[in-house]
Amino acid sequence: MIWQTMRRGLALSPELYQGLAGTLALAIGMTAGRAAVPVAIQRAIDDGLRAPDGPDLTAVITICAVTAAVLFVSTICGFLMLRRLFAVSEDALATVRVKVFRHIHELSLAQVQSQARGALMSRATTDVDQITSFLQWNGVVLIICFGQVVVTAGVMLAYSWRLALVVFVVFAPVVWLVRTCMRRLADAYMQVRERSARMLSVISESVVGAEVIRAYDVSARTAARLDRAVDDHRQASRRSSRLTVTAFSVGELAAGAALAATVVVGVLLGVAGQMSVGEITAFMFLVAMFAMPAQVAAEMLNGLQNAVAGWKRVLDVLDIEPDVKEPIDGIDLPAGPIDVRLRDVSFAYAGTKSEVLKDIGLDIAAGSRVAIVGETGAGKTTLAKLVTRLAEPLTGQLLLSGVDIGRVRRESLRERVTLVPQDGFLFRGTLGDNVRFGRSLEDDEVAAILAELGLADWLAGLPDGLDTPIGERGEGLSGGERQLVALARAHATGADLLVLDEATSAVDPATETRLRRALDTVSRKRTTITIAHRLATARDADEVIVVDAGRIVQRGPHAALLATPDSVYAKLHAAWLLQDDAPIK
């Protein structure tokens, strides 16, 4: 499972494999330098210091000079390896980040919104960071360990295969013990991550809900929840750290045991004339190096698991198949006003059985202004999403100017069809940048757009005009002003089909009416579909479509619909009248 995720994760970044052999060769070159030192000690002792004719200084100097040269080369190998590794891993992860980011934008709205707050951002940021930190810290250690084990084992075998075997035998149970420890560690780390997620969710609640918490004076309650989550997280972390240190200690003890065994067996072999003093001494240095991987294994596991968890989350997102796909060989919408036709369209959200829309048949003539009304949950917003292809019908067919919406090239669709939602999201930056978000425009063109909508006075009242910074998500503007900007932004695209989903709900009624009339005047040929919960909007429309429980129950001009008593529209109208006519005490 872990390996599979890792393999798939690594496959996301083919860059990592480029010249991997070269990197490993450099790693061996780098560790060869380390192993050279014990060899130098052995040679210096046997051939120099304990030379049969008394200490031979020239021999020692020669040996050390040669080793120094080897060390120099190995340092350069290390330099090259690290440079390569950093450049390659950064390249690889930059690719993954962009891939994830792009993929998330390929997903349909429903798919994006089904993810928890902030989770998607983590996919392209912190999850990838975990992989980076694994590759650049643990990865380096892993490669060095690999080189070190290979090189030291080789040198030990060359000195004495018998003594080398003794060392291997001592380390055999360690491998088994560490493996056992690893399994428990894996669980422990998993628990840490779960509790960490819980803790972060409570923290985020205290930030996002700060105002509510203050208004109800329930900060003690939030603090208690936080304390519990923080303490739970600490407890789990302690447990995992105890296991990590235990695993490390096993490696340390094994190194001690191997050293002791080396002395005993080495002396026995030395007495038998099979090993020299220098070789035994060199072995003692080699054993210390050989033990290092066993000691760092536990830390590696944590890094590895974090990276695998990161990879898994990244892969999980990449595995989500976009349910609204860009067509292959898409075609452009024919020029001119757009008419909309729905044939037996049904829709249900993924994973639910109940259909939000059922067998909708509908024709909207090009250039007409249509209002969709109905109670909350009747399916109005879903209808708006289908018409703008932010969602795809479960069954049935939706045609724009006679072309199946699923066949329309995305660029063409987005140029010609625009939705303005209730919560028109604004981006950090200036007012002008937000209006030209959908289409690049010069400042005077932006000003003209606002003027067309009758917003020139409003613009003039802003301190810096189009350059007014609107803050994080437009916080610098009031709710209604944000909607004005979102509407201007949509109008600026010059779309031929505009779908307004309660796009002016926070705008005062007078401004709203003015806006709607301005929109109608400046774009006579545009088809407009408005989801309305105000009577005036419905009254002004060419046609009103009444949606109830996922079906179209009535359609026609306002006046005609009122003629049917006891209809859904008549009841809605009555409620509106009640609302507008309520007696004032």
């Binding site: 709205l109 392209a124 105002e211 203050r214 340390e252 002395v263 926070a506 709203e512 507008d580």
Partner: protein, 592 residues
């Protein structure tokens, strides 16, 4: 410039280290004790190895006979040292990990309590993502030196100990160490100086990448409906590339640093061999002492990395500290008074010459004076951006006025205790927040004295009872991130029930039913009007229905009260008001 920054970081780093020790002296002591034990054992280990070579290996191999007792003694000494080292390692590592965990937990609690105490005006200026990373990565970075601190200090002792040990062996051999250790320190210093600003830059690049992703996904609907996926991806790619450049340049620095730290001790060992051979030839030292000296240099490998880690952690830690500290030392807290308004039942609200100029343009208010008598309903009406929400926030004391007073039951809102204020006023905002908890907890917020009947009644008044009953587990259904998702209108009704269940004296509704459709809203309004104990209400109204409910209307324009009075009187006497409401007027132009 960079030099000044480096020095500043170094000075702060030292202070931060002092703080680690002061905050958790006991755990630091455990960790440091363990580290020292490891250090002492390492040095004595080198001597034991030297002695084993000189007294055990050399004589036995030279004489060609084994002395079992001595051999076993040597082996046992090595094994015993290793076992003791394990004890030291447990102390050092568990001590330092527990230390970090303790500090993380403590500062998370501190930080979040700070979040909870800082006023809404502060929260509005600070993006959520940043605050969350303060409690996450910034806080962890801040205390990261705690992980290696004890080991690094012990390593410095190890270096001094090794040097002393070398001098006890031979001055000439010791000279190698005297030259090597300072050069290692210089290497670290140079490395830190080069890499610190790069890490800082990397962190801010990372923040850019995050906030771009955050914004882009939050605005997914807008990005999609305007077809700007490619444009957004291009912007993201540019940011990612900038981050990559910085990180690769960090890699280049680490590229020369890490191998040098690795190999410098080895060069030391070689030099020791050469000089040692010379001294051996002169008869100043024996082979065992030479081995000891060589082993001492080999020991340096791992501990030296600890110093390296500490030094690389410090710049990041300082950056994290600065960010965390900015929150902990943020001022502008709302202070609460001691008084409480004991009146049960409807409250009285009075604005006395209130002015508010802080924050954004849309929230400015001037000379606001009006009164809402007990049990009455006042509607705030005005064009978009006229300051209605700011006024509502002042009434609930989510913000404080810059001038003038807001009086509740005659008390200045600032003199009331937090508990009294919360019991007296409830505010329901347009954007409703739902906790990751059950429906019940979301309504009661664990406030005392709220029984099931009260919850039912509040849910019914907010027209939320039907959909709550339809939820899989009714009141016990979990909402939020890991629970059931409810629609915007349902959320608004739940938050309305949350306000009603506390039986507030004053209910402030800031466009609180905007996502609820007219039929349901009509039912809510009727429910509130016919409630036995109707609270005093201040209602930000954008629908005529709500305006019609009011006993009196306060009409605002550009942050000033233009007119106050009954709806019909304002219609007749205030042309702007009439114009604003004209859009509602169904009597004109409707074919009946």
């Amino acid at each position: 410039m960079t030099e000044r920054i480096t020095r500043e970081i170094a000075a702060k780093g030292v202070r931060l280290i002092g703080r680690v020790i002061r905050e958790e002296p006991r755990l630091f002591a455990v960790s440091f004790g363990g580290a020292c034990l490891v250090v002492v054992l390492s040095i004595s280990g080198a001597f034991v190895v030297g002695a084993v070579v000189e007294r055990v290996i050399v004589p036995m191999v030279d004489r060609g006979e084994t002395e079992l007792a001595l051999l076993a003694g040597g082996a046992a000494a090595l094994l015993g040292l290793s076992a003791l080292r394990v004890v030291g390692i447990f102390g050092r590592r568990l001590g330092s990990i527990y230390l970090q965990l303790e500090l993380h937990a403590r500062y998370r609690k501190k930080l979040v309590r700070r979040f909870l105490r800082l006023p809404p005006s502060w929260h509005r200026r600070h993006p959520t993502g940043k605050l969350l990373s303060h409690a996450g990565s910034d806080l962890e970075a801040m205390w990261s030196p705690g992980g290696t601190l004890a080991y690094a200090i012990a390593t410095v002792l190890l270096l001094l100990g090794t040097l002393t040990a070398l001098y006890t062996i031979d001055w000439a051999v010791a000279l190698v160490g005297t030259i090597l250790f300072p050069s290692l320190c210089t290497l670290f210093a140079v490395f830190t100086r080069i890499v610190a600003p790069k890490y800082k830059r990397s962190q801010s690049m990372r923040a850019n990448v995050s906030s771009l992703a955050h914004e882009s996904f939050d605005g997914a609907l807008t990005v999609k409906s305007l077809g700007r996926e490619d444009h957004q991806t291009q912007r993201f790619t540019d940011e990612v590339r900038r981050l990559r450049e910085v990180n690769v340049s960090i890699g280049r620095t680490r590229g020369w640093h890490d191998p040098l730290v690795d190999t410098l001790p080895s060069f030391g060992t070689l030099t020791v061999l050469v000089i040692g051979a010379l001294r051996l030839d002169q008869g100043a030292i024996d082979l065992g002492q030479l081995t000891t000296a060589a082993f001492l240099f080999a020991l340096l490998d791992a501990p030296l990395r600890a110093i390296g880690w500490l030094l690389t952690a410090v710049p990041r830690a300082v950056a994290g500290w600065e960010r965390v500290d900015a929150v902990l030392s943020a001022t502008g807290d709302m202070t609460y008074g001691e008084q409480s308004t004991h009146d049960i039942g409807p409250a009285e609200l009075r604005f006395d010459n209130v002015g508010y100029a802080y924050g954004t343009r849309a929230s400015v208010l001037h000379d606001i004076t009006f009164e809402v008598p007990k049990g009455r309903i006042v509607a705030l009406v005005g064009p978009t951006g006229s300051g209605k929400s700011t006024l509502a926030a002042l009434a609930a004391r989510l913000i404080d006025p810059d001038s003038g007073r807001v009086l509740l039951n005659g008390y200045d809102a600032r003199d009331l205790s937090a508990a009294s204020l919360a019991a007296t006023v409830s505010v329901v905002a347009q954007s409703s927040f739902v906790f990751d908890d059950t429906v019940r907890a979301n309504v009661t917020l664990d406030r005392p004295g709220i029984d099931d009947d009260a919850i039912r009644e509040a849910l019914a008044d907010a027209q939320a009872d039907a959909f709550v009953d339809a939820l899989p587990e009714g009141l016990e259904t979990r909402l939020g991130e890991r629970g059931v998702t409810v629609s915007g209108g349902q959320r608004q009704r739940l938050t309305l029930a949350r306000a009603l269940v506390g039986r507030p004296g004053l209910l402030v509704l800031d466009d609180a039913t905007s996502a609820v459709d007219p039929v349901v809203e009509a039912a809510i309004v009727t429910g509130l009007r016919t409630r036995k104990q109707r609270p005093t209400m201040l209602v930000v109204a954008t629908r005529r229905q709500t305006i019609a409910l009011a006993d009196e209307v306060v009409y605002l324009e550009e942050g000033r009260i233009v007119a106050t009075g009954r709806h019909d009187r304002l219609l007749a006497t205030v042309p702007q008001y009439a114009a604003l409401l004209a859009a509602y007027d169904v009597k004109t132009g409707v074919p009946a």
